[in-house]
Symmetry: C2
Subunit: 400 residues, 2 copies
């Protein structure tokens, strides 16, 4: 039997998706599963985006330009980024196969094998997967759930910088924390990047999901950091078009964009129908976002209040995205999540959450944390939280 | 200015796509360009595939399973592979973001950084790009245009095997050569893989484009090589659905499929609308393929006869895919291709071909070769070949 590579053997499996077989097994037995485990909202995509796909008149589905349809690139620049105050031109934006490809490309553009990236912990687990695939080490800068995962002092970053450090990777608002960074945070990170000649890779796919009055401050608007910032974006969350697999990579740094195009050319082009939907989605009225935001604030408040009402549970109030982290009174959150799927039912229903240890790099950290994606409408969320609360009380590995 | 990685800096640009800006510039000046440079056929996609997308009733476009929609996986296994005599089960197939992702995954699954892959030269240039991205070296086994690029004796492979060799990568029918491998070729390659414990990665995306009476012999059907073969496939060419970005990776080796799923989970899922089209395309009647095949034979004969009628040009008759290679009487085929786009017009029209040096790994080889994709209908192909013929006569770097 031919042996697969060490890399493929050792590559971590997605923590977010690895319990999926257990959920499938439960469903096959007729159990209803409330999915709080994945950021897949139930909110309708904008009608104009759906209509663009349904009314397409293609008679053959050919490649687009590797950088994406020029109409989409122009549309994103003029109808979206300029409107939200990000001043870029078309050559500074390239369409990617969703945010995931953007992250993979950005890591490869910044890092050679053996290089290092700084990331605040907990972080989106696939960052680590893409780093691993590219032989790059993620170095974690710890943040604290009890302090709402706020950005630590810059010294905490500085003391982890080595000659192999090439970039700082952030997600703002954050997945899995829901933390929203202030303008001051961003300026400090920008200064740090410039001083140490690092890239600042800023994943802003949750930009439209901010729950404070202060506007989102994009890394693209850090003065003086123009050559250092790489923006990762996506239509997946913004327009509830996750399955379209369309995003973009943006940078003022021409070397970055030139390299991005080389990567893009190797995979030929982003999916056409998704590009069509993304193009039409640019005409989505502001009222769509306002309604979505109101809905998510309702869901967030429901989820976080329910969590904090559970004995021994702590969850900070997130100001962005649609996730919250929670510390729960169990020995091991992964065992608990498995037990929920395999054993725990109320009226034939159960709740699926994501164990959060894999969002941490430091061994042992987050072992009793879960990530909750509040992506269900409130009545269903109430049921899901109730099942979770009762499950926590009944769980044999409970530590209280 | 933050510096991009050495890898990103040194990564080769796509030879197939790097002349695109010149073509765009010509078009902006009103020049009509006949594209013989890229395998993007003008043939209509199956109506049922297009209809499935137009008639979709999604109200939000969510993720699919990372391995692809289960209906599509089952459909591919039962309606396609079983029908063509490839005996696989659903867990042995995973949906990929077209063949390109499949190739990238297969390379990563077989190879660690520093490992080697054997490939017959000339090869599809993006193989080298994906190898480069993964720190893997492609070692070329030469074939000869004058011998129709036939598979060389196995000793030619064996003498290039080192302790770092992990796989043999083939495309059958071949891009860029159009060469179709016989059952005997495949059995020999399979034996070689098994003997030396190598993977045999078989890119068969042009399987439906074979122009002999002998049936295509898939690497999946090499007896005894079950654990060694990784099949790469795609709906792009088969159904003229290039822009859907849907393909699959297939293997009897469970370690390979387990690793493939880990890669798949990191990028979340393949595009949904493309999966819908691919699913519906499975009901495409045989008459569609028969008509397409007849059409391509007509185009092939037109292109190859026209090429060989040009003084100093030699092109073997390809038995598969929709490409042919040609040796042309010029100093440098890339300079010639540029000159065609920048200078040469007949009645305001020009022809774009792909210079073939980058399909070779051996320095200097293929410098006077071009790849011609015969993807236009015959009347347009005739015009395109006429422009090429006249261009060759007028080209200042002509060597005759």
């Amino acid at each position: 039997m031919a042996k697969i590579s060490r890399k493929a053997e050792q590559m971590p499996a997605s923590a977010i998706r690895k319990l999926v077989p257990l959920a499938d097994a439960a469903k096959e037995k007729g159990v209803k599963v409330y999915h709080l485990n994945v950021g897949a909202p139930d909110i309708a995509s904008p009608e104009n985006a759906l209509r663009a796909v349904r009314e397409n008149t293609l008679d053959h589905v050919s490649y687009s330009n590797s950088a994406g349809l020029i109409e989409l690139r122009k549309g994103l620049v003029e109808k979206y980024y300029h409107k939200i105050g990000i001043d870029i031109s078309v050559p500074e934006l390239m369409v990617t196969v969703a945010g995931t490809e953007g992250v993979d490309m950005a890591i490869q553009i910044c890092c050679d094998e053996g290089d290092e990236i700084l990331v605040m912990e907990p972080f989106y687990t696939n960052y680590n997967t893409f780093a691993f695939m590219n032989g790059v080490t993620m170095k974690a800068v710890p943040t604290d759930i009890r302090e709402g995962f706020r950005v630590p002092p810059m010294e905490e970053f500085e003391k982890r910088i080595t000659p192999r450090t090439r970039a700082i990777l952030i997600s703002n608002p954050g997945n899995p924390t829901g933390t929203l960074y202030s303008k001051e945070n961003m300026l400090a990170l920008g200064r740090l990047a410039v001083e140490h000649d690092l890239f600042l890779i800023s994943d802003e796919v949750y930009r439209e999901f901010c729950y404070t009055e202060a506007p989102h401050f994009s890394a693209m608007n850090i003065p003086g950091a123009e050559d250092h910032v790489i923006l990762i974006d996506s239509v997946s969350k913004r327009y509830n078009l996750c399955g379209c697999r369309i995003g973009c990579i943006v940078s003022h740094n021409p070397d970055v964009m030139r390299a991005a195009l080389k990567y893009a050319q190797a995979r030929l082009c982003p999916p056409i129908f998704g590009q069509m939907a993304a193009l039409a989605a640019l005409d989505t009225p502001d009222s769509y976002f306002a309604a979505v935001r109101t809905e998510y604030i309702r869901r967030r408040d429901c989820a976080v209040q329910a969590l904090n009402a559970m004995e021994g549970v702590f969850s900070p109030l997130p100001m962005g995205a649609f996730y919250t982290m929670a510390e729960i009174p169990v020995d091991n959150a992964e065992s608990f999540a498995r037990w929920m799927l395999e054993e725990w039912r109320i009226d034939g229903e159960t709740t699926m959450v994501t164990p959060a240890a894999s969002f941490y790099k430091t061994p042992g950290k987050g072992i009793n944390h879960i990530r909750v994606a509040y992506v269900l409408e409130v009545p269903r969320l109430v049921k899901a939280m109730h099942i979770l609360a009762e499950g926590l009380k009944a769980y044999p590995g409970r530590t209280l």
